[in-house]
Every structure is written in C-alpha cells, then in structure tokens.
C-alpha cells in the first residue's frame, strides 16, 4: 500500500487572491442602464402623481426640494451601479468557482464544486436582447452563500453550467 502524509507548505497552495478574474460582458452595462432608467421613471411618475393630487405641494419650494433630491438620487444610483458592475468579476478554477464584488468592500465568495447542490440559469427580458444570462449557484450553506453572477454571455453561461453539472456528477 502506498501511503504518504507529507507536510503541506501553505505557501505552495494555489492562491485564490492571485487568480485572474474575468469581468462581466461589456454589454451588461447597457442592461444596467435600462434598469436604472426604469427605476427612475417609476419614481418620477410617483412624485408626479404625489404633486398632481396634493394641491398643497404645487408650489416652487416643493418643486425645488423634489427636483434636487431626485437629481441627487439619480446621480448616486447611476454612479454607484456603474462602479459596482465594473467591480464584479468571476473565475472558474479546476475545483471551485470564485465570485468577487462590492463597492466599498471587496467581497469574494469561493464555492468548491463538490459542495454545489444545483445550478440555475436565468435570462432576463433585457439581458436577452444582448444575449446575456445569469447563473445562480446553490450550496447547502443557505441563502447567504448562494451566488448569482449576472451578465455572462449566454453560450459561456451555458458551458459554465454544463461544466458545473459535470463536476457535481463526477463527485459521487
């Protein structure tokens, strides 16, 4: 019987922090633009209805307060979403999948293939225009560890899913 039990040098293990991450597809930002536009439109309609039905609010002070806060909100929403999309990235290694995101912080989630429970692929209405898809990966770790990666090219998403399913199958 061949049995080895050598000490593992921690520094020789593959390092997750040095992996090359691929960012989301460049068209995904357009989907984000569409979503922001829709959110802003809905809020604008809401404010419009509020002013239309409340006669007390039909005065210049209310207009300027609503106007300034709306523009400020729109700017914050726009820049934070764009920045956060740029910071999202994923990497598929031989034995696990990594997903990095976060605006103020860098959050990296690592899921070994042999702990993945199942995989779902979602295609949103706007994502489909640009041939993009979202992959959702479930582990038994519960909702805090489930990862959703949006804005991957559909063919690529399909092949990642295929790969994950294959890896899951090989485990048992």
């Amino acid at each position: 019987m061949e049995f080895t039990n050598e000490t593992i040098d921690l520094d020789l293990l593959p390092k997750f922090e040095e992996v090359h991450f691929s960012s989301l597809h460049k068209d995904y930002i357009k989907v984000v633009y569409i979503n922001i536009a829709i959110v802003l439109l809905i809020i604008a309609i809401g404010i419009g209805a509020l002013i239309y039905f409340n006669e007390e609010m039909q005065q210049s002070l209310a207009y300027s307060i609503f106007g300034v806060s709306y523009v400020a909100f729109a700017l914050v929403l726009f820049f934070s979403s764009v920045a956060s999309v740029k910071r999202r990235a994923y990497a598929v290694r031989e034995k696990d999948i990594l997903y990095k995101r976060g605006l103020l912080s860098t959050t990296t989630t690592m899921m070994p293939f042999n702990r993945i429970q199942h995989v779902a692929m979602h295609e949103g209405a706007f994502s489909r225009i640009y041939n993009l898809a979202q992959i959702q990966i479930y582990t038994a770790g519960g909702s805090t560890s489930d990862v959703k990666i949006s804005g991957i090219e559909k063919e690529k998403a399909e092949s990642i899913k295929e790969l994950l399913m294959q890896k899951i199958q090989n485990q048992i």
Partner: protein, 504 residues
C-alpha cells in the same frame, strides 16, 4: 403504462387553470390596494368601465397562464443523471438538478388542485429556494412514477426509513444513559444562563406595563403631571436599587423554572451510530442525533459557570427546508450543564477526538474602533430622541448613561479579548463572546463555501473579515490579519476539494 421523461414534457393540460389561478392570486396580492381605491372612488356610472377592466385583467391573466404553461417543461436526462426544468415567459430560467443531490420529493394537493384533480410535485435539495423547483400540475400516477425515478438514484429513501425505525426500536429499550443531568446541575444552569434574553423580555414587559398604567390614569382624567412627579419622587435611586434587585430575582426564578421544564430528566444514551437524547418535564422529547449530521459543535461558559464547573453544549445540525418549517429549534441540540469530562466525551463521540486548538489569530484593534463607533452612534440616536421628546428632568437619566458606558465598554473589551480563531489541519475553532464565551468547532470538510470581505480603508492595514458558510449556519471572524486569513482560506479550500468524506 410506460412514461417517457427523456423528452421535455409539459404539465398536464389542466395545469393552465393552476397557472391562471397562481398568476391571478399573485396579481391580486400585488394590486389589492389600488383596486380597492378604484372600487371606492368610482361613481356608479362607471361600473361598466370597472367590469370591462376586470374582464381585461382576467383575459390577460389567462393569456399569461397559458404562456406559463407553454413555457414550463421538465425532463430527466438519464445520461447525465440530472433533472432539468425550464420556465418563464419573459424572464426565462433553466434549473438543473443532479439526481444524487435530491433529498426529498413531496407530492401535495391544494384546494384548487383537488378540484381539477392534479397534484404538485416539489423537489427539495439541501440548497435553498424550495419554490424554484416545483411542478404545479401533474397527474397522480405520473407524479408517483416521477418521484420514484427521481429518488431511484442512491438509496436515500431507505436511509430515511432506517433512521425512523431506529428511533422506534430504541426508545423502548432501556440502555444505560451515558450522561444524566441531576437536579442540582439543572439548578446551577438555571441561575447562570440566559440573563440577556430574560432581561430583555422583562424590560419590554415593564415598559408595556408602565405605558398601560399611564394610559389608565389618563382615561381616569387624573392630572398626569402630579402622578408623574409623584412617581419620580418615590422612584428615587433607592427604589431603583430595589427594583433592580427584584428584577434580578425574577430573572433567576424565570430561568430556573424554564430550565427545569425544558431539560427535566435530561438523558443522553449512546447507541450504535448515534446518540439518543430524552428530556422534558411535561412533554418528553426524544431526539436522535447522528454525529455525521452535526455541522457545528459548540460549548459555552460564562464567569459563574466557570466557578461552578459547568458548561453548555450545542450541536447544530444541517437545516433542510422542511426542518425550517416544522422543527426549527430541534436543529440545535442542547446539552445543559455538563462538566469538562462529559464535554470531552461528547466531543470524542461527535468529532472522533478531542479537538486541539491550533494556531490562534486575534482580531486587530480596529475591532474596538468599529464597536465603539457603533455604540457612540446608538447613544447619539437615543440622545436625539430624548431631546425631541419632551422629557422633563434629563438629569435623572445621567447616571444611566454612565451605567450604559460601563456596560458597553466592558462588553466591547471582553468581546475583543475573547475573540480568537484557532485552526489546525483537523478543526477550525472560533472563540467569541463577552460574557458567555463560546467555542464553535467546525471540521473543515463540512465547510460549504467561504466568503472574505475587505473594506478599502482596511487595505493598508491588511485587515479583513471572514465568513465560513456551513449547512447549519454561518460563522464570522472579523478584523483578522488578512494575509493569514487568505492563507487559511486557500488551505481550507484545498481540504474541502480533496476531501472524500461525506459532509452529511
């Protein structure tokens, strides 16, 4: 009859009705407020308009229901051993489930489904989101065959029944208990544990009592200010002292009673591969614990418990969806008041050996800064609230601020001092807690996923946070040396990915 699940299948045709009902229900739930407004605001001349609108809504829902039915397909890929489900009209989803990962298949019937004569089939994996994987309309015979096919892979069904029969056969036999908790121990546990929770409960109770007392007075039209000042005069600091003493007594009493009810005649019996636990005063609870299913083992001890030489143990098991609904608390199995010898025996049973603490990592001093900052923000909010609500003599509250400061700073200090992450090749041990010092023990191969997090202002100081996701919940370690954390993460990933052991 031979059914073929290899090609994509739709639900049974009557499923359109179910889809319609589901959509309609969802629509009503989302739009009930505007609908009510329209109904009440409209004048009687407009009833025709409302009827037409309603009709349009129904037609629209029918169309959506039909499209949902058309786009919902499922099939069994025998070659890859997976079940594939596609759905969605505008937002499309495709879900793949490896057959070996399926834990349960449930066949249910709601009222509408009963009327039409179809069943729903829900598939449960250890992952979350039960609703994701549900076939809403399927014939009974088809459902039963599909269930059989889905569970065919592996022998999960048998394993479950085996476990159940074990409970029945052993609850009657009288094996010698390996841990038995005496009344004195229960008493000791009662007077030393759960202070925080009971005090919080009592404070809310006292506040509601005080409020209703005040309300009663105002309804009797007694001049409120005289009562208030009378109350404040009598409730000087002396009476506050008595109040606190009474409160403490009450807390102890409640805790003792609760401990006795919950853990009366606590017995732990060793069986072939599992532990049977029997306890309870009114209802005898019989739980079977399989050591392989335990994801996090923990023991905790506070200052008093240390003096009395007792500690509490918790075994957290994997929580599946079903367990969440029915027996949320039984996922955590508690052993009250064991001594360190008994603790080691239990640890040996569950983990195979007594876990030794590996190299420790302690949190950075930034832990203190962040806690102090949040405590100060909380104090600030309280002050602003007090300032705006018309509290007459603020001076009365100033000693309370010192009590708060003393309490919070000691909690922060001891929380910092006790926070450690130990790791070696077999165990990860997280020590934390200001008063109840808890050790949480995880075997690395039971980790499901790992998350690291670093704020950009912590980059220079090389400080970061770590979360280990297990099937029984998450474990956090914050403000650690990020280089060391990254090294550990790489090691744990290596361990999980090379591990052949089954985590459950």
């Amino acid at each position: 009859m031979e059914f073929d699940f290899k090609t994509p299948q739709r639900q049974s045709v009557t499923g359109i009705v179910i889809m319609f009902a589901d959509t309609f229900q969802g629509l009503i739930r989302a739009l009930w407020a505007p609908i009510l407004v329209v109904l009440f605001r409209m004048k009687s001349e407009n009833y025709l308009l409302i009827a037409l609108g309603f009709l349009a809504l129904v037609v629209l829902t029918l169309v959506i229901g039909y499209l949902k039915y058309r786009n919902f397909t499922f099939f069994l890929d025998e070659e890859k051993q997976e079940f594939v489900l596609s759905k969605g009209i505008i937002n499309k989803s495709k879900i793949n489930i490896q057959l070996s990962k399926i834990q349960q298949v449930n066949i249910n019937q709601s009222i509408i489904q009963k009327i039409i004569g179809v069943y729903s089939l829900d598939i449960d994996t250890a992952g979350s989101d039960k609703k994701e994987i549900s076939i809403r309309a399927i014939d009974q015979s088809l459902a039963l065959i599909l269930k059989e096919r889905l569970l065919d892979y592996g022998d999960k069904g048998e394993a479950v029944s085996e476990e159940k029969s074990e409970i029945i056969s052993n609850s009657s036999s009288n094996a010698k208990p390996f841990i038995k908790v005496s009344y004195t121990t229960l008493f000791k546990v009662g007077i030393t544990s759960n202070y925080g929770r009971t005090i919080a409960l009592l404070i809310t109770f006292a506040i509601t009592l005080y409020q209703s007392f005040k309300d009663a007075i105002s309804t009797f039209e007694i001049d409120e200010t005289t009562v208030d000042s009378a109350f404040e005069k009598s409730a000087g600091y002396f009476s506050v002292g008595i109040l606190v003493a009474g409160l403490l007594f009450l807390v102890l009493l409640i805790n003792i009673i609760r401990t006795f009810i919950k853990h009366f005649d606590f017995e732990m019996i060793k069986q072939k591969q599992s532990l049977a636990i029997i306890s309870g005063l009114f209802a005898k609870k019989n739980t079977l614990l399989n050591p392989d299913k335990v994801q996090i083992t923990s023991y905790s001890q506070n200052y008093f418990q240390k003096k009395l030489k007792i500690l509490d143990m918790n075994m957290k098991q994997a929580s599946s969806n079903e367990a969440k609904e029915e027996q949320k608390k039984s996922n955590v199995i508690e052993v009250p008041g064991c001594n360190s010898y008994e603790r080691d025996e239990i640890l040996k049973l569950i983990l195979g050996k007594i876990p030794e603490k590996g190299t420790p990592i302690q949190p950075n001093f930034r832990y203190l800064i962040s806690r102090i900052f949040s405590a100060a923000v909380f104090l600030g909010i309280i002050f602003t609230v007090l300032n705006f609500s018309e509290v007459e003599n603020i001076t009365f509250y100033i000693p309370l601020i010192f009590v708060y400061l003393g309490l919070v700073s000691s909690v922060i200090y001891f929380g910092f001092k006790n926070n450690r992450l130990y790791s070696n090749e077999n165990f990860v041990i997280l020590k934390h807690g200001a008063w109840d010092v808890e050790h949480e023990i995880i075997e690395p191969y039971k980790i499901q996923a790992i998350t690291t997090r670093q704020y950009f202002w912590h980059k220079g100081a090389d400080v970061g946070h770590l979360t280990l996701h297990t099937a029984a919940g998450d474990v956090h370690f914050k403000f650690g040396d990020f280089t060391k954390i990254k090294q550990l993460v790489n090691y744990w990933l290596y361990q999980v990915e090379t591990s052949k052991q089954n985590w459950m």
